[in-house]
């Protein structure tokens, strides 16, 4: 099993959620986050004070998928989240040791 962590543009959340659902990913966790990469920030002006805002608001999606679903899920996120401009985000993948569904006690792929 793999944990997919995707950082995307906030307004792309709905499109990515739909694409993942179509790709068979049955659940995910969403967090509002801030950060920066190549996009960098913008400047804000309050009367005489100018502030460079480095940390931009992004959405972090986390979903755990079976190994054989990984490529489909990653491609679904990529196709739905891209605008081809700097700031589209990144996808990170890590191995997951175990998963357990709390209600039933199922483990592994059955718990996804």
């Amino acid at each position: 099993m793999k944990l997919i962590t995707a950082i995307i543009r906030p307004f792309k959340l709905e499109a990515v959620r739909e694409a993942l659902a179509e790709a068979g990913v049955s659940g995910l966790t969403v967090t509002e986050v801030k950060g920066y990469g190549r996009q960098k920030g913008h400047t804000e002006l309050y009367r005489g004070a100018e502030y460079v805002v480095d940390l931009l608001p992004k959405i972090k999606i986390e979903a755990v998928v079976a190994d054989n679903h990984l490529e489909t899920a990653m491609e679904a996120i990529r196709q739905s989240a891209r605008t081809d401009k700097v700031g589209d985000g990144k996808i990170f993948v890590c191995d997951v040791g175990q998963v357990l569904r709390i209600r039933t006690g199922e483990t592994g792929d059955d718990a996804l």
Partner: protein, 471 residues
């Protein structure tokens, strides 16, 4: 013949009766007009609204989340504290006869304003003959002015001032700066005192120092805005910069609150300025439209200038423009005509925009919410421009030159402008000296600033034990 005589006798009788009634009417003191009374009580409530919540929200939106409640609390408590001090001794020192700088003590605890023995109320003068106001209404109206002026100052020192130090400072500053300047600028015996040209000089001599010079300040350009703006700047220097000033992001946490606050300030300012006519009359109408128009002009001039110079028209700019326009039109409100409102509003937006950008960089103080840049600079501009646009040739009403005959006139632009400049200068020096001493006393007693850790944590938690938002 006898019938004619009868008729004549009857006519003489009626005439005698009429004369007696006229004499009787002259003997009875005039009573306050109910319309004036109703308007002035509403105007007073409007000034309360422009302080709490309006000024609190305007200021509060400009600080960081962790200091929101501290700003609201500072405004709320300072407003209440000054209201109490006003009724204890403030009103008496500002608005009773004394010398040219301080009034007397005859109205301590508002003594003598209401007589429970016969249910009678004392009367205060307005700007028309035979048109008094219940003195208690005047007391309340002027109380709100003193209270909001003290609240304006704290915008310079928010996010790091110690609450106890602020209360000590405003108590001293109110007593030795607000009260004498209000007395100097606004106290005079009232139009009914002037009955005989021969006594005019003696009656004038009972008035405040700046009033005697002939300075025009309709609703508080000197008394309120320059007074508070300079006190704020001195505070910014003495309290020092916020931690991280110039390095960290110290941006407003809610310009939505600031917009709501600025809008309510605009609304309440109708009471402040039009109420300063003390009657529901033409002078109030002029102050009302000028307050409305000049503010709109300043919103536009600030917004477009910012758009051209900085690239984007900002909400904070529009809200700041409104306050700049309101400040500048305050001394002018009933003292200029419509051309004056256009000019003062347009200029105020541009001058105060420079005040919070270019001038602020020169001064190098952390005047956090730009009390100096907006209130002192706007107040000075307004006070000087009042002297110019008061001219009848520029659409202004002029001012009363002879209180016996109530003759209006205008001494000439150069003369009036010089008088205005002297009034501005005296106010700046007076408030600067008192502020310096008052901050030093507060510093010596309790210390002006919270600790480094408390400032980092935020004053909401460290000074007041609560937090503004829980979501």
């Amino acid at each position: 013949m006898s019938r004619i005589r009868c008729k004549t006798a009857a006519l003489v009788g009626i005439a005698a009766l009429l004369l007696a009634q006229v004499a009787h009417a002259q003997a009875v003191a005039p009573t306050p007009n109910k319309g004036d009374t109703a308007w002035m009580m509403m105007a007073t409530a409007l000034v309360l609204l422009m302080s709490v919540p309006a000024l609190g929200l305007f200021y509060g939106g400009l600080v960081r989340t962790k200091n929101m409640l501290s700003v609201l609390m500072q405004v709320f408590v300072v407003f209440s504290l000054i209201t109490v001090l006003w009724c204890v001794y403030g009103y008496s020192i500002a608005f009773t006869e004394g010398n040219a700088f301080f009034g007397g003590f005859s109205r301590l605890f508002l003594h003598g304003t209401f007589n429970p023995a016969d249910g009678s109320f004392s009367l205060a003068a307005t700007f028309s003959k035979g048109t008094p106001l219940f003195e208690l209404v005047f007391v309340a109206f002027q109380a709100t002015f003193a209270a909001i002026t003290c609240c304006l100052i704290l915008g310079s020192i928010v996010e790091r001032v110690k609450f106890s130090a602020l209360l000590i400072f405003v108590s001293i500053w109110f007593t030795f700066s607000y009260l004498p300047i209000a007395h100097m600028v606004w106290f005079f015996a009232g139009p009914d005192a002037y009955t005989d040209a021969a006594k005019t000089g003696a009656i004038n001599a009972t008035a405040g120092f700046i009033w005697q010079m002939g300075a025009l300040d309709f609703a508080g350009g000197t008394v309120v805005h320059i007074n508070a703006g300079i006190a704020g700047l001195i505070g910014a220097f003495l309290v020092g910069k916020r931690i991280g000033y110039g390095r960290e992001v110290l941006k407003p946490h809610s310009l939505t609150m600031t917009m709501i606050g600025a809008s309510l300030v605009w609304f309440g300012w109708f009471g402040f300025n039009a109420g300063s006519a003390l009657e529901a009359n033409g002078s109030a109408a002029l102050a009302f439209i000028n307050t409305y128009l000049a503010t709109a002009c300043a919103v536009l001039s600030w917004t477009f200038a910012e758009w051209i110079l900085k690239g984007k028209p900002s909400m904070l700019g529009a809200a700041s423009g409104a306050v700049a326009g309101l400040v500048a039109i305050t001394p002018a409100a009933g003292n200029v005509g419509i051309p004056g409102a256009f000019a003062i509003g347009m200029l105020a937006g541009l001058i105060c925009l420079w005040g919070v950008t270019g001038l602020k960089r020169i001064i190098k103080a952390d005047d956090s919410l730009d009390v100096f840049g907006v209130h002192a600079l706007g107040g000075i501009s307004g006070a000087l421009l009042t002297g110019i646009f008061n001219a009848p040739s520029l659409g202004g009403p002029g001012s009363v030159q002879d209180w016996v005959t109530m003759t209006m006139g205008y001494p000439g632009i150069a003369t009036q402008l010089f008088i205005q400049a002297k009034a501005v200068g005296i106010t700046i020096v007076w408030t600067a000296v008192v502020s310096l001493i008052a901050y030093k006393i507060a510093d010596w007693l309790v210390g002006l600033r919270v600790t480094h850790e408390e400032e980092r944590e935020g004053l909401d938690i460290s000074s007041h034990g609560e937090s503004a938002y829980d979501y």
